[in-house]
Symmetry: D2
Subunit: 105 residues, 4 copies
């Protein structure tokens, strides 16, 4: 953590730093798949085949999300829990909101 | 549809033809959002903010899927139901499989 | 369809009639599992074990839902499609709303 | 907690102790709703109405699950994080598996 970060909201590197290359690989693949779906629709491909692809991308995106969430809990939430109860509380409220969005609740 | 399609499994235009421009618009937007997520991770943006974006894209993709599904049932399944019981049966089996994938069952 | 049914909204038997015993079996099992969860919480059982059970029940309920949906499309929607375009349209609007609720969209 | 618990894997009270009455209330209500679905099918109620009820119960169950998860993270995971790095690691692995099941991944 350098001085340059002091004023920002999230001075520390994100929790996913160690897995960043892996996340980027997966996201690049998902970008390609998303362009693929647009192409399928542009080419009048069969509805069910487009739906199958959308289900695959949704699944891949949620895998990335779970992986980022795991990183976030292991690093950001854990660090806050060990360092500062008030900050920990904030992180936990934020985490529950993120889970609520992921579970569509 | 051109003669080239005669031998293929789905010679008819897909069920989503009427809404094709709308689907393409939405898919282009989703492509942009997907690139946005890759950029967020590349820029070390905060985990929770990345998760929020992934939830938004997943939701947008499933909206497109529901819309394609609606088109598919109204056109492809309905046409088969009116025209040919055997073909209808095939369409319904295929539809249930697509729903199973969408509901992750 | 007999005269006795004329005044009701849904005169015909529901689409799931053929699979009714199977649905009832599965629902009775789900009732038992739901009581099981209440008992786990009453007995202070470990959080994660309760969550595992809730995931299992949610999955079982959605399997029943998919199965009812399949019956509904094969019988109610198909019958309307063959009999009456206006009624078919209504059934399709209703179906899309049900899918929207199931997909939490 | 009594001496009888000493040898067990989870000697401490579960993370949801403070909200136990609330969880039990909600679970009792869900039990009633589940019995209601069985009755609807037994009474040949309209497919779509049964599906609407199943969506409502699934939603209610996932709300309970999110609430238990929140309790679990705030109490069990936080306690382990503060007390013992090895135990914390185990709790986090277990948590990610539970999230994977909840997200159907």
């Amino acid at each position: 953590m350098t001085t340059a970060h002091h004023a920002t909201r999230e001075p520390a590197p994100p929790g996913y730093t160690d897995h960043k290359p892996d996340h980027l690989d997966r996201l690049h693949k998902i970008e390609g798949q998303t362009r693929g779906i647009t192409r399928m629709v542009a080419d009048d491909r069969y509805c069910i085949d487009v739906l199958t692809q959308i289900s695959a991308i949704t699944h891949a995106l949620q895998q990335v999300a779970l992986s980022l969430l795991d990183d976030h809990i292991r690093h950001c939430v854990t660090a806050a829990t060990r360092a500062d109860p008030v900050r920990a509380e904030e992180k936990l409220d934020e985490l529950t909101l993120a889970l609520r969005r992921m579970l569509r609740l």
